[in-house]
Symmetry: C2
Subunit: 262 residues, 2 copies
DNA sequence: CAGTGGTCTAGACCACCAC
DNA sequence: TGGTGGTCTAGACCACTGC
């Protein structure tokens, strides 16, 4: 074939070539790419080179490999995670977890891990403003949309606030956990989130069906009362190629324009 | 050597092994890893396998390769981009671009591209709520910290608002562009951002010194007046391994707790 | 010019899938 | 059982660095 020129590595050119064919519909979503030996023969290159090119597409989340079966173009429905809407959803009686799935008409499911009392790790203690080793409640869970894993979320609460409450159950009832916190005397007034991108660890790769080079959003979410007491910290891990994060906030400037001085 | 067991691929085990040695200080930041032939000999494997292992570390931003010279451990100062603080900075007389660098005592620099009038692309037109092809002002720039590229930022403004204003100059003056917009009669009241993660394109790779498998934050930032008119849209591209995004917002729930009904 | 990483190949063996 | 992708090797050539 005549696709390969020196300025770029062959495998990058092949990746560009395949990507273009995916985007222009030659290989529509759900369809299989030609096999690696077939592509190698067609392009006059080795299978290793083709494999490396496809590796770039996998990293970008464009294709998904089924071992022994073939390489398939992903049908990628981007999920929007609107922070304000997500955490304001209790007016509608739903927990935050179902907001996005509902939006896209996806079947939503939440699998809970072991909800239990434990000693706070340093990370959790710092985020909650408690002493290291203090007791906290952990609510670990994995969220699915159409049976595809879309999110890992581990929430922590100070035990002295939530001990004995409905938050020990998987189903926390109408309005979700923030409604329960309000009833316990700790209504949430503000949220803060730190967002990072990183590669998934082994556990996350297994749970989220990711490869070593597919980045994840790593979100640390803190809920605060009006007097700035943290009442929940949640660690979210989301496959990067599935999500768009949406934030909105009001301008913080209080002084009139043109008053600033260096 | 005795590091390799079958359940995981050799290159992944080697990557884990190297990562552990970087994190425990065996290879401190700034130091060079042993050469690939040396590692291959020591581990009893081939150079290609070592190269693939190091590729995983590069993707994670842990090491940086200098062609012909060696592979070096990155000293990674995470930069925090606090959205609220960043865009409230004009009280202190600075533009948004210098907030983070100043915070970390880094030398900050902004290189401006061609500031000019142009026709809105569909993306820009949609974000600004103008008709496709309407004139807009583009202010393209690249931000550096300690001479390392840290961000690409292309801002667009409706021409009918900013035409002939100070925004045509690279230096927009005290308080930055939002102060000028306020003076023009369009004070900004709210911000909205969409955040994605993706792999960089060729241009971004060159400008930001990234590799094909190093993810970037792709941020679409919109500034709105109190009557929800968009007056600026900015497209930001940030190397993922350099940044933490920080957001804060007030709870949107207006109804008292416990009132929700499914 | 010697050493470094970037890339490519041909061939091989394996695990897994579908028939 | 044949086809698929996952991985590994030995060897090679190249561009680039730094002495």
């Amino acid at each position: 074939m005549t696709v390969v020129q020196p300025p770029k590595a062959q495998y990058e050119q092949i990746a560009d070539w395949l990507r273009a064919r995916i985007l222009d519909g030659t290989y529509p979503p759900g369809s299989a790419l030609p096999s690696e030996p077939a592509l190698a023969a067609e392009l006059g290159t080795s299978r290793v080179t083709v494999n490396r090119a496809i590796g770039l597409l996998r990293t970008a989340g464009l294709v998904k490999v089924r071992r022994g079966a073939g390489t398939y173009v992903r049908s990628l429905p981007q999920i929007i995670r609107d922070a304000k809407q997500r955490y304001g959803a209790r007016e509608r009686g739903t927990g935050a977890g179902e907001v996005e799935a509902r939006e896209l008409n996806l079947r939503s499911r939440t699998d809970y891990g072991d909800i239990r009392r434990m000693s706070a790790t340093p990370d959790v203690a710092r985020a909650l403003g408690v002493a290291g080793g203090d007791d906290v409640l952990i609510r670990p869970r994995v969220l699915y949309a159409n049976d595809e894993p879309t999110q890992i979320a581990d929430s922590y609460y100070p035990w002295d606030i939530v001990g004995g409450s409905a938050l020990l159950q998987a189903d926390v009832g109408t309005g979700g956990s923030y409604s329960r916190l309000a009833e316990l005397g700790y209504p949430v007034a503000r949220f803060a989130e730190d967002v990072n991108v990183r590669m998934p660890n082994d556990v996350e790769r297994r749970i989220l069906h990711l490869e070593a080079t597919q980045p994840v959003f790593d979100i640390v979410h803190v809920a605060l009362t009006s007097d700035d007491r943290p009442v929940e910290v949640a660690f979210h891990v989301l496959p990067g190629h599935l999500w768009t994060l949406r934030y909105g906030w009001d301008d913080a400037v209080t002084t009139p324009p043109g008053q600033g001085t260096p």
